[in-house]
């Protein structure tokens, strides 16, 4: 029966030109659907390459090859006038087989190389991997066939589609791989992807939960027109004890004892201590930035202009620095004092004698302008309440069992403030510091510091709270094409288990540069492991066939304009040295647009793919292998040659044959 069916197929169908034409129509339709209706292939979780490597297309191509071979062998005689058809058909068959081989074994990706650095890896463009970091080490579990276009989750009723990504055991790269569980000291630590969203944001909300601690929910629009910021503070929680709102740092500390709070309040009021000595005068002053202090009846006065908690000295040391304006009975000058140092620096103010070449602070002096004035400065922030320069830190203190919240606001260039709130809800006003440039201008011109911007925030306190993460899909109309294609907004929900009954679900974001960009979220506390275990979704790591060093990177802009601001570039050039890992042989070559470097006789290609458009610090090279390309190229050449032969050579041969036949007939007639 099967033999008869095959015979019929062979005899009647495969040798039928109409069948071939029908196949062409089907192939064209398949291509049009795959390319013109991306929603169709995305429904089946197929990107372009996967769609055109899927079984229906393969079946169509195999049938095309079968019919071509059958028709050619059975219906087209191998005579010079038919050579064109033969060549074209052989060309199409070669192209199809080359294509099968190509898409079966093709890998491609990219690697970012910093100037004068060497890499031996690249990241796959299509395949994802789950990366797990136990402090100090990183393990990886590839996710072949991972979905891309549709969301999957138990709540959506389609979570079973992710079953094949359960029991993941990420391992380190290298000769003797170690699993994430071994690294963490939890042998049966395993991971499973239980949810996936192609374009979503991970959000958090503060919820009531028995056994939780005091938590604060803060909602406020810091700038007109923006969405309200929804923040939360939960003391002791891995990622929620600190947060920030533009230039405002927020922290929550839970205290067990009211006495601790008193100690903190005292510390907050005594950041800057200045011991001042003048002939006949000595005083220890506790200073606030922006205030003026008169030194008894000496005729001296000091204005505290600004404070920089992390000022860098000439020998690269980071020290707290206070800038003072000193008014003496006879003159006025600027003095900078460093905490713990007895060597202040004085500056002659611009416009005064000896101030030629003065900068914003004045002209720096190597000797003190007033030796009589001795200033010893001490900065004390033992409670860590001072933030970095240009910000203000609001530290929320809560004491379990009381409904009181104490908020201490401290910043380099603002006076310290203490605010006490009772109850579970309040509107608090936060001060956003003035821009650093405005502060500098004010200091330089001797003007008062610019005022801080007022931001009203609605605070809600929960006595027994926990932070819950959730995923919010971005509506399709708001999605960005480039982000979507790069997968930048992909989110997975990973379930970590330890084999002993414990499990925890955590949302893990996509990280485009696993080795370079900081990891965000994806943190889980595994029982028995002191440090948190962190996870990221990323492009799968692969080894290069050779190591590549970036010797030099150059970018050319049209019109000689500044490269960082040039909208249109002429070229990018990466001079690279490729080292064969086995022979140690080195080759130096230049990759630029349309001029890739071929490696291993053309089996691999390294091409210019991206670059650092600010400072030319790195290049991004596209990486790809080239299986079957030569066969496909040969097939294409045969098709072109065959068509030309069939259209334009065949008639010449037919004419020559006719003339020969006529001549022969003429001779025969004569004979």
């Amino acid at each position: 029966m099967i033999v008869r069916i095959l015979e019929t197929l062979l005899q009647r169908t495969l040798r039928n030109v109409w069948f071939g034409i029908a196949l062409l129509v089907l192939i064209a339709t398949y291509i049009a659907i795959g390319s013109g209706l991306p929603g169709v292939r995305e429904y089946f979780e197929l990107d372009e390459v996967a769609f055109f490597n899927a079984w229906p297309f393969r079946v169509l191509m195999i049938l095309l090859v079968a019919t071509l071979v059958t028709v050619t062998l059975e219906r087209i005689p191998f005579t010079p006038t038919r050579w064109g058809a033969w060549i074209v058909h052989v060309g199409i068959v070669s192209l199809v087989f080359g294509g099968f081989w190509h898409y079966r074994y093709k890998v491609e990706g990219s690697t970012l190389i910093l100037q004068n650095q060497t890499v031996n890896h690249y990241f796959d463009r299509w395949e994802r991997a789950l990366y797990v970091q136990v402090p100090g080490q990183m393990a990886r579990a590839p996710l072949p066939g991972f979905p891309r276009f549709n969301a999957y989750d138990a709540a959506l009723g389609n979570g079973s589609a992710l079953n094949k990504f359960a029991g993941l055991n990420p391992v380190t790269s290298g000769a003797s791989p170690q699993s994430a569980g071994e690294m963490a000291g939890v042998k049966d630590l395993r991971f499973a992807v239980v949810g996936y969203w192609p374009y979503a944001d991970i959000r958090q909300r503060l919820v009531d939960r028995a056994g939780g601690g005091v938590g604060y929910s803060l909602v406020g629009p810091p700038h007109p027109g923006e969405d309200p910021h929804d923040l939360m503070l939960l003391a002791g929680a891995l990622r929620y004890s600190r947060t920030s709102l533009h230039e405002i740092e927020l922290e929550h500390r839970a205290l067990a004892d009211p006495a601790e709070l008193s100690a903190v309040a005292v510390a907050a009021s005594r950041f800057h201590t200045l011991n001042v000595k003048l002939p006949g005068f000595e005083q220890s002053l506790v200073l606030d930035v922006g205030r003026e202090y008169r030194l008894g009846d000496t005729g001296y006065a000091i204005v505290v202009e600004s404070f920089d908690p992390r000022w860098q000295t000439m020998d690269k040391k980071i020290v707290p620095l206070l800038t003072l304006m000193v008014q003496t009975p006879t003159t006025k000058f600027r003095r900078q004092v460093i905490s713990g140092s007895d060597k202040p620096t004085d500056w002659i103010l611009a416009g005064n004698a000896g101030s030629e070449g003065a900068g914003p602070l004045g002209k720096r002096q190597t000797e003190l302008l007033d030796n009589a004035l001795i200033t010893n400065y001490t900065f004390d922030d033992s409670k860590k309440l001072q933030p970095r320069e240009g910000t203000i830190q609001y530290t929320f203190f809560s004491i379990a069992g009381t409904m009181r919240t104490t908020i201490i606001a401290a910043g380099p260039n603002v006076p310290t403030a203490v605010q006490m709130l009772d109850g579970s809800a309040a509107t608090i006003t936060l001060q956003s510091p003035p821009p650093a440039s405005e502060v500098m201008m004010a200091v330089a011109s001797g003007q008062p510091l610019p005022p801080a911007e007022q931001v009203a925030v609605e605070m809600v306190r929960k006595e027994s709270a926990a932070v819950e993460e959730y995923v919010e899909e971005v509506p399709k109309i708001q999605r960005n094409k480039d982000d979507g294609q790069a997968g930048r907004k992909q989110v997975v929900k990973v379930r970590a288990t330890d084999g002993a009954g414990w499990h925890e679900d955590v949302f893990v974001p996509f990280n485009e540069q696993i080795l370079l960009m900081p990891w965000r979220g994806g943190l889980v506390s595994v029982p028995g492991v002191t440090a948190p275990v962190q996870m990221q979704l990323g492009n799968n790591y692969r080894l290069l066939p050779a190591s590549i060093r970036l010797d030099k990177f150059e970018a050319d802009a049209y019109g000689g304009v500044d490269i960082a601001s040039a909208p249109m570039m002429r070229d990018f050039r990466s001079t690279i040295t490729i080292t064969d890992p086995r022979s140690g042989e080195r080759v130096t070559d230049t990759v630029y647009l349309n001029n890739p470097v071929f490696y291993q006789g053309g089996d691999w290609i390294f091409f210019q793919s991206g670059w650092d458009n600010q400072q030319q610090r790195f290049t991004i090279l596209g990486i790809g292998n080239r299986p079957g390309v030569r066969i496909m190229a040969m097939g294409c050449g045969l098709i072109v040659l065959g068509i030309f032969y069939a259209f334009y050579i065949k008639p010449i041969i037919i004419k020559a044959n006719k003339q020969r036949a006529l001549a022969k007939a003429g001779k025969a007639a004569q004979a």
């Binding site: 030109v17 109409w18 034409i21 062409l24 064209a28 291509i31 049009a32 795959g34 390319s35 013109g36 991306p38 372009e48 390459v49 769609f51 294509g99 093709k106 491609e108 027109g225 923006e226 509506p475 109309i477 708001q478 999605r479 960005n480 094409k481 049209y558 019109g559 000689g560 304009v561 500044d562 909208p567 249109m568 570039m569 002429r570 070229d571 990018f572 647009l593 349309n594 890739p596 290609i605 091409f607 596209g622 990486i623 790809g624 080239r626 390309v629 496909m632 190229a633 294409c636 050449g637 098709i639 072109v640 068509i643 030309f644 259209f647 008639p651 010449i652 037919i654 004419k655 006719k658």
Partner: protein, 569 residues
């Protein structure tokens, strides 16, 4: 009769008085040609002030003129009377559905909302009003489509504010880079500067700048200040003199790299004639009509007239391509990289040109004679009947009309219509090989469409066997050539992609729809094997039309409807 005379006399008097009134106006009294022909650098490209003004005006207002004045006059008037334009509704909102979003603004009245919806224009002051900006920020966060529309309007607003020097209103040519650089071996090798920047550089580095340079800058500053004063005072004589002074001073900064006067004049003329699109289209139309009439009537004088028109059209077409090549050359510095086939405008221009060349060569019968000698083909004496001529003229006309009319119909220029720099990835010989072949095949596909449609009409109209046979043979001639060249074009594209993107075939929509077009012609070839007679020809003509539709979708539709790698094609 007397009444007619009175009417004519009245009309003549009215026209004369209108002309007289026009002659009194400031714009008619001044001659700003010296400024029109000046060079400047804009978007990393060297262009005349005329080109800059036209592009800026079209970008901002969706039109190339305002109040019936030239773009150059309008831009200068904006520069010297900036306050008058800050509150005018000049910024054209191209995204029509987005205009309705202005209806949600609470601080404008219903009449204004209706006006925006109808006219689609807003003022610079309105756009930069904090209330508007605040509302737009909210809109931007709501949808990507709206974000794009807002970004487009914002770009237009920035372009206008740059001309007006908003909100500074300093009333001089502040932001335009009209000062050529001192160094560099060609006009576009180094950045040009605006007058304030150049004078600042002069103050900062007096020892570096030569006396001649400083003198030229000072003359330019004096001329601009004088021009400003004269313009505001409407002193036409002084404006004319200062315009001459400014142009001469700019040219004297670095005469060795300053674009030649001839080139600048050609550029202005090229702009004035809509890049020579409508003159060419008009002549092609004439040729098309006469070729059809000649074929229908077999009158020799009509055929000769058609030939005269098509040769003239072709010469204009060649001129359009040659002038553009010449103008592009000054920006890229060499002739090879300047070949004008790097964007949609240039490729349509080239494609139509190639199509007409092939059609006219076939029309003359030269190729037929060669083939007859070699292969015994005579194409059933296809040449000399006007079929190929009409097809070529038809495709030339359609292409040039499209290039001319699209901006007026859509309010947006065709990609690459203005001369500007191209993405570095396009600066390769591969582009010439691949794009030339593909667009050449598109022209041939266009002609198979013309002939295929012609066949279908004839088939429905009179079914004259001889005519149908002739048209089918003509269609086959074009079709074979299109099929073969498109095949090579697709393959060369794959070879280019291999070295550029690291893989020969990405299943990108442009690639796949080109392949589908090719498959349509592959189907035609095979259908012709298994069919015969009228059926064969009819199917061929129908599939020629289908193939043209697929090609057209690939060339234009894919850019609008699908996401892919060929964003510039």
């Amino acid at each position: 009769m007397r009444q007619i005379f009175i009417i004519l006399a009245t009309l003549t008097a009215l026209v004369s008085s209108a002309r007289a009134a026009g002659a009194d106006s400031f714009s008619k009294q001044i001659n700003i040609d010296p400024i029109r022909y000046m060079s400047l650098q804009d978007k990393q490209t060297i262009k005349t002030f005329d080109t800059y003004a036209r592009e800026a005006m079209f970008h901002i207002t969706g039109r190339s003129t305002l109040d019936g004045e030239s773009a150059t006059f309008t831009v200068l008037d904006m520069v010297f009377n900036p306050r008058a334009y800050a509150e005018r509704n000049l910024i054209y909102i191209r995204n029509k559905p987005f205009r309705a979003d202005f209806g949600s603004l609470s601080f404008i009245d219903a009449a204004e909302k209706q006006r925006i919806l109808k006219e689609g224009q807003i003022s610079l002051k309105f756009w930069f009003d904090p209330h508007t900006q605040q509302a737009m920020e909210k809109q931007m966060a709501s949808a990507t489509v709206k974000a794009k529309a807002i970004q487009e309007i914002h770009d237009q607003a920035l372009a206008l504010s740059q001309i007006l020097d908003y909100p500074g209103f300093r009333g001089t040519l502040v932001t335009q880079a009209i000062v050529p650089p001192l160094d560099g071996d060609s006009a576009n090798a180094r950045p040009w500067q605006s007058l304030p920047d150049a004078s600042m550089k002069l103050v900062q580095n007096p020892q570096v700048m030569s006396g001649a340079y400083a003198g030229s800058i000072e003359k330019m500053i004096t001329a601009v200040q004088g021009l400003n004063t004269a313009w505001v005072a409407k002193d036409a004589a002084s404006v004319n003199q200062q315009a001459i002074n400014l142009a001469a001073a700019a040219e004297s900064v670095n005469p060795t790299i300053y674009p030649s006067k001839t080139k600048r004049k050609f550029e202005v003329a090229y702009n004035a004639l809509s890049r020579l699109t409508w003159p060419g289209a008009a002549l092609y139309f004439l040729a098309f009509v006469f070729f059809l009439l000649a074929w229908q009537t077999e009158l020799k004088w009509m055929y000769v007239t058609a030939w005269i028109a098509v040769v003239l059209a072709w010469l204009v077409h060649v001129g359009a391509i040659a002038i553009r090549w010449w103008l592009v050359q000054k920006n890229v510095g060499n002739w090879f990289e300047a070949i004008p086939i790097k964007n949609q405008f240039e490729s349509v221009m080239f494609s139509a040109w190639f199509g007409t060349v092939v059609a006219l060569v076939l029309e003359t019968g030269l190729i037929n004679r060669v083939f007859k000698r070699l292969a015994g083909w005579d194409f059933r004496k296809l040449h000399g009947q006007g079929i190929f001529g009409a097809a070529g003229a038809g495709i030339g006309m359609l292409s040039l009309v499209a290039l001319f009319a699209v901006p007026f119909v859509t309010g947006q220029d065709i990609i690459g219509a203005g001369i500007r720099q191209n993405a570095g990835i396009l600066m390769t010989y591969w582009l010439y090989v691949h794009v030339t072949l593909v667009t050449a095949s598109y022209a041939l596909i266009g002609m198979t469409f013309v002939i295929g449609t012609w066949y279908a009409i004839q088939y429905l109209a009179n079914k004259d066997a001889a005519i149908l046979q002739t048209l089918d043979a003509a269609n086959l001639t074009m079709l074979q050539l299109a099929f073969w060249i498109l095949g090579i074009g697709i393959i060369t594209g794959a070879l280019w992609a291999d070295v550029s993107w690291g893989r020969p075939w990405a299943w990108d929509p442009k690639e796949t729809f080109a392949l589908i077009t090719w498959i349509v012609y592959l189907i035609i070839v095979h259908i012709r094997i298994v069919t015969s007679g009228t059926n064969r020809a009819l199917i061929t003509s129908v599939l020629s039309i289908v193939g043209f539709g697929v090609m057209l979708f690939n060339w234009i539709g894919v850019n609008f409807f699908l996401v892919g790698l060929h964003s510039y094609a």
